[in-house]
Amino acid sequence: MAMQPATAGRKARWALLDIVVVVYALVPVLWIASLSLKTKDTVADGNFVPREWTLQNYRDIFATTEFIRPLFNSIGIALIATFIAVVLGMMAAYAIARLDFPGKKLLVGVSLLIAMFPQISLVTPLFNIERELGLFDTWPGLILPYITFALPLAIYTLSSFFREIPWELEKAAKMDGATPAQAFRRVIAPLAAPGVFTTAILVFILCWNDFLFAISLTSTEASRTVPAALSFFTGTSQFDDPTGTISAAAVVITIPIILFVLFFQRRIVAGLTSGAVKG
């Protein structure tokens, strides 16, 4: 597509459109951030900019294990699930992209099926199974279903990345004297790195944001993650309104996602494969 000349009118129209989109997307986030910075007395005043600023809510949530422990669970469970899902996904995606094997279509079909499966219908069976197996309210009890639902995503994203890597590079590596493992490690893996990062971020976000399994398959702080823990927040007394602390916690768990995207954006976009073949 040819770039059209950027006239002032066109620029203004795009700027307006961009602003609308950004405002629409960011207002709820800013609202939460604003709530988290308000004092208890002004929390319900409806002002967008807090009239009294305070960091008390943040101090409160980090003062109790009610938040610290779930945060620790969230980070641990999401990281482990992401790691396992990406490693398994890499192997499966490589096979799907490069090899011809019986049942390949079936594998792709089944993984798509899993991605579309309504998770809510699995909650009761999983609850019963995990209680029988002693997995209920443990880390593996959450990691396992997360891997299951993250794998289709990982396989789909990664296989499209692997398909982009020219087949001939691998042949060239073999001709240069590499074993299949060396060819994968020294040629394919470095080129797939942007894809692996992208996939890891997507999978991490999927696990990090999950509420359904987190609330159904946990019962104590032993494995409860932040999204589930938020719903159990109470104020200092039973009649205390926890809006401020919930907002503060919501802001805290949004930060890793924002950092991830900002930090890895360049890697995601970087087209490392350019110049591999003619063109």
Binding site: P166, E168, L169, K171, A172, A173, K174, M175, D176, G177, A178, T179, Q182, R186, V187, P190, L191, L272, T273, S274, G275, A276, V277, K278
Partner: protein, 393 residues
Amino acid sequence: MAEIVLDKVTKRYPDGARAVSEMNIEIADGEFIILVGPSGCGKSTALNMIAGLEDISGGELRIDGERANEKSPKDRDIAMVFQSYALYPHMSVRENMAFPLRLAKVDGATVDEKVEEAARILDLTQHLDRRPANLSGGQRQRVAMGRAIVRSPKAFLMDEPLSNLDAKLRGQMRTSVSKLQKQLGTTTVYVTHDQTEAMTLGDRVVVLRGGHVQQIGSPQFLYDQPANLFVAGFIGSPSMNFVPAALEDGSLKSPLGTVPLTDRVRSLVEAAGGPREVIAGIRPEHFEDVSLVDDKHRESGATFRSTVDVLESMGAEKYAYFSLEEQAAVNEELAELAADAGSADVPGSGSTIVTRLDAASAAAEGGALEVWFDPDRLQLFDPKSGRNLTFDG
């Protein structure tokens, strides 16, 4: 350096299709051999089997007298240059060229020395620290060559290495590939679909069609003595003219007139014992404007008169095209060649004769011209089998 022998090598796919059928080629040590043919003739498959990138379904591949069928590519000690160059985009030119040596666990100082040397030979010294993405097509091509020569392998395999370059650069690279091969003296198998590359580069040329070897020989031999219609039509540019003809009483009756056969041609045809209906072939360069032929030659040759359809003046020579009303010679092999060249889709009945005339010719588009040719240059083919009835090999 090594000799490579293909002994009845066959490639069969699970669906029963054969890409290569019982291919027998003996490549001598240090020889530059070209595999040439239209797309789908099995030349790349054959190369990949030598490389070890594809399994051999039948027959035996011997490198230096040793059976190599089951050896993995890395144990064959053969380097390959790919059509797309297949440079590693995340490595600098230096690292690309050093990669085979690093895998072979060569020590650092030797690696540097060898890479520098290869870079000097290929004139890449000032580009060593750049990434492939920042190089031009010709430079990438040279890096690919560098990666192949740097570890002094037993043989080079090249899969259409010049086909991604523009015409002028291709001509220059062709010369430098040829020089490089002479300089290194390494056995080289080169795959191309371009008959000009085949004619100019190789010590010997293997013409392939549908997975079968049609003929093996030096470029000049293939040009002078094609074994069949396919080779005759494939080798030479512009390609040989074919017309349907009949043998009658020692003469050849064709759209170009009735021509008495020369003794040489007659004895060859009689020995071959072909049918009476034949296909006659004559190359464009064996025609001449009759006014430019001296009397002595004119008498020994034959002439025909026709209207010049199209005239292309190349400066050094002129190409005159004539249309014949008679049906074009019909043969399966010719149809395949036409399909490959894309000319099967060009509309027009009858056949076209291309002649290459001296630049001094007064031929003009739309004007009549008398054209001379030497009947001794005629090649006669069996229309059914495509066999050359005048083959004298």
